[in-house]
Amino acid sequence: MKQRPWLFLLPALLLVSISAFIPLMTVMNYSQLTLLPGTQPYFAGLENFVAILQDPAFQGALGRQFLFSFLVLITEIPLGLALALCMPKDGPGVGVSLVLLGIPLLIPWNVVGIIWRVFTRSDIGVLPEVFDWVGVTYNVSQFTGDAWWTVLAMDIWHWTPLVVLICYAGLQAIPEEFYMAAKIDRASPWKTFRYVTLPNLRGVLIIAVLLRLMDSFKIYAEPFVLTGGGPGSATTFLSTYTSRMAIGGFQMGRGAATSLIYFFIVILLSFVVYIIMLNLGQGAGNDS
């Protein structure tokens, strides 16, 4: 019976091999080659990797990506948690809130970009007009600052609901007795939150942080539609850079090398955050 688990895993492994493993091997192969159209590919070793790492455009995109993901995490996680605490526990309000929160998540990503584009464009949007009334100039396609905070606002608008849903699920799973016990001990609301709610939410918070980290690192369609990566390269993130290298670039080896570096950074970062969060919880002295 030792083979039984593998039998159950077989379909999933087969599916992963065509949807992930084989493509990954292809990328690895290409990343070592110099592929110029019309010539024989020849072995380039690490040449492609070095070239990418030294490219200022790559470094810029990487820096912006880190800053963006960092800002996304420090706003969306606390905001989502706070809003989940505001959710009603039962009654008709739950269904309504769940449906409304689910809507932004089910809008195709480029439609999210379109929504925000028509919302913020200087000729047809409502946001520039509102800013005009209070005497502030606002132009997404001209000012780096405006473009940045608009992309950020869009991401918060788009993904905070997911954090709310995840945290809400976690909150629902905390047994009512825990709160009763806290009440009997006359714990203040803050102390109840700190010593009952937060430790019990550790698992779901790890999920929320990891999901948001991975996904914000993959952001592509929304800024692509909203700003086209501009003004200049102000909102060009890693995905935009990589897809430009992969499609637009005539050098497929470079594109593949970029892909691998990118993948490696995401895995490494997720792993580090995962370990940190596991230890954080333990440091707070709980055993769940």
């Binding site: 039984r4 688990p5 895993l9 379909p11 999933a12 599916l15 992963v16 065509i18 949807s19 992930a20 084989i22 493509p23 292809t26 990328v27 706070a82 809003l83 009603p88 309000g93 739950v94 269904g95 809130s97 769940l98 409304l100 929160l101 809507i103 998540l105 089910l106 195709p108 990503w109 480029n110 439609v111 379109i114 929504i115 028509v118 000729d123 047809i124 949007g125 409502v126 995840i166 699920a169 629902q172 799973a173 779901v204 991975m214 690192f217 993959k218 369609a221 890693l238 995905s239 935009t240 990589t242 897809s243 992969a246 499609i247 593949a256 970029t258 892909s259 990118y262 993948f263 895995i267």
Partner: protein, 264 residues
């Protein structure tokens, strides 16, 4: 309940950009471009007519829904046994394998664009539903295994053992006892899988041309193709939101149960 006002405020803010697009979709282009109006002064359904009467847009919707449903089917069927294996048995390398599955969730689609294209070209799958539905398994399968494993671990192992003692065969146990127990889990999984497949753009755009082009791609292509017809674009955006809204509405009870089981 004062704190619920914050939630209401957030939900209202959430709806503002959506309202703006909805508002625009009912206006003629002349009104959109000339003045700022908070509701359509010259109410028109022309934008919607243009979309619904064009084969180009309609096939986009059909393609999108078919691909997402295909993807949900592949993912659910393969993730169920895998998640069962992870939640019920210890075997050599199970933790590593689980993490390896998860790393695929982290893979940026941009990084896989070119190899997917080459791989599926070799199998003549480019511009078919299969290409996109299979490619989306890259990020959906790990997620599905992750969610389902959580739900299954929440069901005590004793239930399995009791059933076998009662003389259930394995298939009969799965069909009569286990599946009904994790229906909410399957609903949550299907919801997230559908969602991530429905909204994805990059891979869908790389792997399709004309025949299998999903609505997200139709939208970007028409966005780039000269002459900005804002009204039609807004109407298409609204229509692209509809299937999602219907699905959330349909599964809202199952979702609520799923959520209260504590795993997402």
């Amino acid at each position: 309940m004062k704190k619920q006002y914050y939630l209401i405020l957030f939900l209202v803010l959430l709806m503002v950009p959506i309202y703006w697009m909805l508002n625009m979709s009912f206006k003629p282009n002349s009104e959109i471009l000339q003045q700022l109006t908070f509701y359509p002064h010259e109410f028109t359904l022309k934008n919607y007519q243009e979309i619904l009467s064009s084969e180009f847009w309609r096939s986009g919707y059909i393609n999108s829904i078919s691909m997402a449903l295909m993807n949900v089917t592949f993912v659910t069927i393969t993730a169920l046994p895998a998640a069962y294996a992870f939640s019920r048995w210890n075997f050599r390398g199970d933790k590593h394998l689980f993490f390896w599955f998860l790393t695929n969730r982290m893979a940026p689609p941009a990084a896989f664009m070119v190899p997917f294209f080459i791989l599926y070209s070799n199998f003549n799958l480019i511009d078919t539903y299969w290409a996109v539905a299979l490619a989306h398994c890259l990020f959906n399968l790990p997620l599905a295994i992750w969610i389902l494993e959580g739900f299954m671990s929440g069901i005590p192992k004793e239930i399995d053992e009791m059933a076998f003692l009662d003389g259930h065969s394995f298939p009969s146990f799965v069909w009569n006892i286990f599946l009904p127990l994790i229906t909410p889990g399957i609903a949550v999984t299907a919801f997230f899988t559908f969602m991530f497949s429905w909204v994805e753009l990059l891979l869908a755009r790389t792997l399709t041309n004309e025949a299998a082009q999903p609505i997200t791609v139709t939208l970007t292509r028409s966005l780039g193709a000269g002459g900005w017809d804002w009204g039609v674009l807004a109407a298409a955006g609204v229509l692209a939101m509809v299937p999602g809204a219907i699905i959330v509405y349909l599964v809202r009870d199952l979702l609520a149960t799923g959520f209260s089981m504590g795993r997402v």
